[in-house]
Symmetry: C2
Subunit: 250 residues, 2 copies
Amino acid sequence: MLCLAACELVGGHESTAMSFACALEMIHASSIILDDLPCMDDDSLRRGKPTNHKVFGEDSAVLASVALIGLAVKQTSSSPDVPPERVLRAVQVMMRAVGTEGLVAGQAEDLAGEGMSFEENEAALEHLEFIHIHKTASLLEAAAVVGAIMGGGSDEEIERLGKYARCVGLMFQVVDDVLDVTKSSEELGKTAGKDVMAGKLTYPKVMGVEKSREYAERLNREAREHLRGFDSDKAAPLLFLADYIVNRQN
Amino acid sequence: MLCLAACELVGGHESTAMSFACALEMIHASSIILDDLPCMDDDSLRRGKPTNHKVFGEDSAVLASVALIGLAVKQTSSSPDVPPERVLRAVQVMMRAVGTEGLVAGQAEDLAGEGMSFEENEAALEHLEFIHIHKTASLLEAAAVVGAIMGGGSDEEIERLGKYARCVGLMFQVVDDVLDVTKSSEELGKTAGKDVMAGKLTYPKVMGVEKSREYAERLNREAREHLRGFDSDKAAPLLFLADYIVNRQN
């Protein structure tokens, strides 16, 4: 949705970004399967259902995760009427969000930090931000950037949409952390209080629930700032998305 | 090496395929890390050294494997002086070899077949060929095809090089199976006799050691056939590679 809205915002037709919107969903699904593995977060519930490895076994889960990355790139070949240099650039951006500049970097830092204790809140916050910028924000950033590339946006437009999405991604995670300590598993559709039990660093732990909420609001304002000057009708879905994320209850 | 030689065979300079040659090595390394995981082949020795998860842990091994796929695609962006449609096509081919049409399909079939018993040799052979065409041959095929694409080969040249590499890939696996039952761990640099212990289907098991050797020879002749008509000087490295693989002792 972010990908398609970014494409439309820069004047493209959403159909030209559709293949990448699907591809990014595959990348996201791939990352979630890995995240839940016994050797990672060891989670048994996701979106209210048993996780992939619980149903299909660990081997199939790992293979499904890798297969989805391959399928994501395959998906992007069905992008007719778009110059190949644009498609190639978009593929590169999408795959950068997977590797050492994105999801993998975030997950590695996340695992490395388990059980680690930080004497200063500043160091803890830096660690947290690194994780979420890479683990969550990078994929949303890629979605917006890829949509803007496919839509034929200028470099400045592409950059601003990327910054907007980065704020939204980080905000998503701040809100997620707050929900984890304030809601039940039933309300969330996934195991609640898990971060606390695993001794994980979260925004509420570092800055308290109230300050975390304020931080989310600040990120929302910043995200909106990056969309200034764009056509307001076309920007509406992206502004709505940011509001929706900051106000979500599960 | 296959990638570069294919590039030169169709008249390109090997430097234009260098980024993809490196990318394919990353994809290969990625697949090997996954293959060796406890939930897959559970191997502790590879190329005479402890496997990735033995040294760095299972979580880091899985992340490294995924990171390498991302890095492989990133790598291909440094392909100057090649039209973007060619680079894009090559990226698509490379990534197809990773997913459900390649490595993942082969590994999934491999795992599904463990402990399975085949009443007829024909069914067993079909299962074996499926595994190795996807697990091994598909990556070699991709290397040759990608090299030929980057070198500016015609569709016919690209197709013939792909078929050559497919034969070589299959042959590699037949020879590998033969070595597994005829050599020691020390000679191989990896755990010998492992396939037999794991109850895995192998070529020697289905057709005997002697017939397996003959099959490898036949694949070698077929591979050479696909290179007919190409410049014989430029084809020499590829003919040498096929001979080397069929005659290797570890």
